[in-house]
Symmetry: C2
Subunit: 168 residues, 2 copies
């Protein structure tokens, strides 16, 4: 998007812009998740990051499908939000001394990323429906449900054991 | 936090770090919300940003109270996540030509910020409980509920009229 031009003229342009934004975000997450899995100590948490990595790769393909269905070029735009979330996750993780505390920090960081995606996909589903594109909305809603399920799984893991271990 | 030191040694340190992070984030939002209210066209949306600004100022004070209850210095640390979310909100808003489309973009941006806060406060409540600080958890849970309510209100406004107007 240009600095002195206003490139988003319609709701459809806005929808495409947000699609390009989350496409970039998902790609960044496919790079960040293996690093998070490396750092995790709890085997279930490590596995959960690896499982979500596979899911994220599939979500990238699903986005490509939405671009195609919509007749639009597959394209990413910079997303300072996800860059900030990942930067913060890595800064904080780098500051943690204790392995059990690090696991708690990693879950928190992953949930910040999940919530970013939940908000973006929630909006995309609503906009796709408003634009009469229920086909796109249905595909995007699948990802939205996966992100919500991942967030729930992380909450359960934190509350059932990771926080307990970190505080002991 | 130092580049070559590992300052977070315990769960309590991690809790305080996250408190300092969200304290910074809330302060940034008290600066961003008036700009969002200025840009909004729909009077109800404009009012909703101004109402949330007052709520946010109160949340800042609530955080100061939690720092005090916890016997910790009131302090903020940089939060690249909220900086990224706000930067992206302003970049996108600056790119939108049509006023109705801009309202839809502003709601989406505000919901990304709400979801960041929902994730952070959710974690803080869980960690405070784990640390045996139900007094802090109760205060933080009040803010969590306000953020969830704001997110819901934005969804209703988007789905009942703003998206409709933007797509027409």
């Amino acid at each position: 998007m240009g600095l002195f031009t206003r490139d988003i003229k319609t709701m459809n342009d806005l929808f495409l812009h947000q699609l390009q934004d989350i496409y970039y975000a998902e790609q960044q997450l496919t790079k960040a998740l293996p690093r998070m899995a490396d750092k995790a100590t709890d085997p279930q948490l490590k596995q959960s990051f690896l499982t979500h990595l596979e899911e994220t790769k599939n979500q990238v393909q699903r986005l490509q499908q939405v671009f195609k269905m919509h007749g639009a070029e597959i394209k990413a735009v910079d997303c300072p939000a996800i860059d900030g979330i990942i930067e913060e996750a890595e800064d904080t993780a780098g500051d943690v001394d204790d392995k059990a505390v690090l696991d708690a920090a990693l879950i928190s960081a992953a949930q910040a990323a999940e919530h970013y995606e939940i908000s973006r996909y929630g909006t995309l589903v609503a906009w796709a429906k408003q634009l009469g594109r229920n086909d796109c909305a249905n595909l995007l809603a699948k990802t939205l449900e996966e992100e919500k399920a991942t967030d729930q799984k992380l909450t359960s893991m934190a509350e059932s054991k990771v926080n307990l271990r970190a505080a002991s």
